[in-house]
Amino acid sequence: MFFLKKLFTNHQKKKPSEETVGLYSSLAKNLNYLQTNLSHSSDLKWEQINFNNKKGILIYLESVTDREKIEKKVIYPLHKKAEGVIEEILPIAQFKKIAHLNKLPLLLVKGNCILILEGLHEAYVMGVMPSYSRSISEPSNEQVVRGAHDGFIENLTTNLYLIRHRIESTKLKVHYYEVGEITKTKVAVLYMQDIVNPKLVAEVDRRITSISTDTIASTGIIGEFIETSPLSPFPQILYTERPDRTAVNIMEGRVAILTEGDSSAMILPVTISAFYQSPDDYNSKWIIGSFIRLIRLASILIAFQLPAVYIAVVGFHPEILPTELIFTVQSSVGKVPFPPILEAILMELTLEVIREAGLRLPSRVGQTIGIVGGLVIGESVVRAGLVSYPMIIVVSLTAIASFVVPSHEMSTAIRILRFPLMVLSALFGIVGISVGLLFILIHLCRLESFGTPFLAPFSPLRMKDLKDTFVRFPIWKLNQRPHDIHPQRMTQEDYSRGWDADGQKEQ
């Protein structure tokens, strides 16, 4: 117990903050200080510069600065003028004067170059960050048929631009946090000031500020720190790489969290229905959108239960099979040497292995996996009499159905929960499945995401919010925001089809 505690607890001892150090009058001493504080890193460069007849030194980290910018915007103007007021000469927007030497190393790391003139007690800090970023492209795991095709990238400013561009409102608030004792990762919390529930913002603030870690590698890590029930297999935060989805959720009164260096946004709080919805539902007409959503729901059920139900039927209740079917199934099952549970686990694990292998391989080799996995294993395993045909069908159906789930987190949760259900069904048949589903349902009922019940609007039931769950009602019927997040303003749409004289009478 003590050992486990020791393994898993955070030692939340804060290091004492450094004492402030003023600038030395000697350039060499200053340079020496910086070198020491930057661990004598090789990419620290400096150049001698004369200005106002004073010796000066220009220091920068070549790896995080744009060499061309330094030359054009700093070195060239200084050489040309040779005299004058530095603030006026340099055409740089991000310009600061810092008197404390101890603050400089961090500024260097962030992509500034520093000009120290002999005898002056202030250093000039100029932002010369390079703008390397990949282009805005559609996220490959959240593609839509029609609609916006842009996606978040690894640059926070660009990502914020993508959202601000969609919500051109003065009420959209961005709140920066610096998380990570060492990495100082910039985290942005976005919400609509006049819609969001203030209690939710306070809670998010409380949870983010309590993070005390050295490194923030990705959004997912923050997610794990702030999730309400980290032991649950179900995701309580929606991760998305789509700016349109993020913007819509912000407008519903939810909070989005973006991280520097990560191309996914976290949306919270979310309910279970968010995990089987896709922007596609809203891009196409409502009838088609509803139909596809129902198919997705059915796929979730298939991915979740089909193997378990099959095991229960073949192992416990074969009498429920229709007469014509039972002989076909029996003739195929008859020569399999394993009990159905072993057969199922063997096939499911093979499938997971193939899936994982396909993910890691370059796309050109991926086809090979398709052939080896699908044809060779699928066909030969039956020929060899190790697995029956119905089992292959069940496993493939399950696999296809699990890919339909739009959220990767939800898809994995379902894949994992399938296994305990299979074991239960192999032990107790349909009774086992029922008990397993009961446990999962109980768990879902008590699960909450930032104070919002995970099963809202089903439990607690709110009929009005059911409009946008199993099916999607026409947009002009969705007059209110979802109630579960307690937005400040409920009305989001009002009578947009007022032009329709016939429709008016109906209302």
Partner: protein, 369 residues
């Protein structure tokens, strides 16, 4: 935290405990398709069981395995057959229970008891009476190119849809078996050289086989009872016409009305009135576009059908088979009368006065006119 460990360990231990594991693997089952029962000497039972075996590979043909045994009860014969069988005897996909004529002349409930007792048994299995011996029919193994395990259930299904036999199964006959005011009628299978025919009804009285209705009478009974299948077709001679020729018609809509009245003296009068809309499907005399001929046919067929209805009812009364459930009506509406008749219902049933008439109206006659 500690509580959780206890629960978790408890669960793990439970998994390894041995206990009553009611696993029922499909691959270990030998599926019974048809069970046939016959009378053997010395009050014993001769059971014939047909198992359907689907081959493992696609190239092989499916086969039927027929096993039989003699015993005192169905369970005993079942166990005896199980001794001669690989894997386990499983009856949950049983499709037909066939009772030989001789055996059906005794109470049939002892044969069916086993099916009602086992929660796994298939309640939708058909139950039929075989002409002669059930084992003779089952010994055919194949009818034409179809296996007997496939042929007989489908044959019965087809006959049910053609309004030839009653659609009864183990579940549906159960309440009637124990009802003193109603009797069952079951399909009666006959062997016709190399074929099997299913077009007649076996009448029962108090769970005892008492007689057979011919195909036309069977259809008439089903129509009067108000339980027709999808098609009800009859071919009749147009008897007293000058140029007599057969006529075939489908009963499209059949309204029926049965009223049971008890007269003050205790005489029971049953009025059976049927109103049929029929379509002519074959009539070589033609001229059905003339209203006069249609009217004449309406009248003739009505007369013919009324005659058939009376003949059917008479046969049923002779066999003491209360298929219409007259007794049930009396139990429900005239309990005092029933109290008196209860002890000797068969006798009183024979004396019931039936007033049957059928009214037929031709509503169409095919595409030619």
């Amino acid at each position: 935290m500690k509580k959780w460990y206890v629960v978790l360990i408890g669960f793990c231990v439970l998994l390894f405990l041995s206990g009553c594991w009611d696993q029922e693997l499909l691959k270990n089952a030998r599926l019974l398709s048809i069970a046939g029962f016959d009378k053997a000497s010395e009050n014993k039972l001769f059971s014939t069981y047909v198992f359907h075996d689907q081959p493992m590979s696609e190239s092989q043909e499916p086969k039927d395995e027929i096993k039989s045994a003699i015993g005192r009860t169905p369970r005993e014969t079942r166990d005896k057959v199980d001794r001669k069988l690989s894997n386990y005897f499983r009856a949950y996909k049983n499709r037909v229970v066939m009772i030989g004529e001789e055996l059906a002349k005794k109470d049939i409930y002892p044969i069916l008891d086993i099916f009602y007792r086992d929660p796994h048994s298939s309640l939708n299995a058909k139950i039929v009476v075989a002409q002669g011996k059930a084992s003779d029919l089952l010994a055919m193994k194949k009818v034409g190119n179809t296996l007997i395990s496939d042929e007989i259930p489908k044959l019965i299904d087809g006959s049910e849809e053609k309004t030839l036999v009653t659609a009864e199964n183990i579940q549906s006959i159960c309440p009637v078996l124990f009802d003193p005011g109603e009797d069952i009628l079951l399909p009666y299978l006959t062997k016709k050289e190399t074929d099997i025919e299913c077009a007649q009804l076996a009448m029962f009285h108090n769970r005892i086989f008492t007689g057979v209705l011919n195909p036309n009478e069977s259809t008439m009974f089903l129509l009067l009872k108000g339980s027709p299948g999808k098609i009800a077709r009859m071919t009749r001679e147009e008897i007293d016409s000058d140029n007599s020729s057969p006529i075939t018609f489908d009963v499209e809509k059949a309204k029926h009305d049965m009223q049971v009245r008890v007269q003050p003296k205790g005489k029971i009068v049953v009025t059976l009135h049927a109103d049929w809309k029929i379509g002519i499907t074959e009539y070589a005399q033609n001229h059905l576009n003339e209203q006069k001929i249609v009217d004449r046919l309406n009248r003739k067929i009505s007369e013919d059908m009324t005659r058939l209805a009376r003949q059917t009812i008479k046969k049923m009364q002779e066999a003491q088979c209360d298929g219409f459930g007259i007794g049930r009506r009396i139990i429900a509406f005239h309990p005092q009368v029933w109290k008196k008749m209860k002890g000797n219902w068969a006798y009183h049933y024979k004396k019931v006065q039936f007033k049957a008439d059928v009214k037929v109206k031709i509503i169409h006659s095919g595409v030619i006119n």
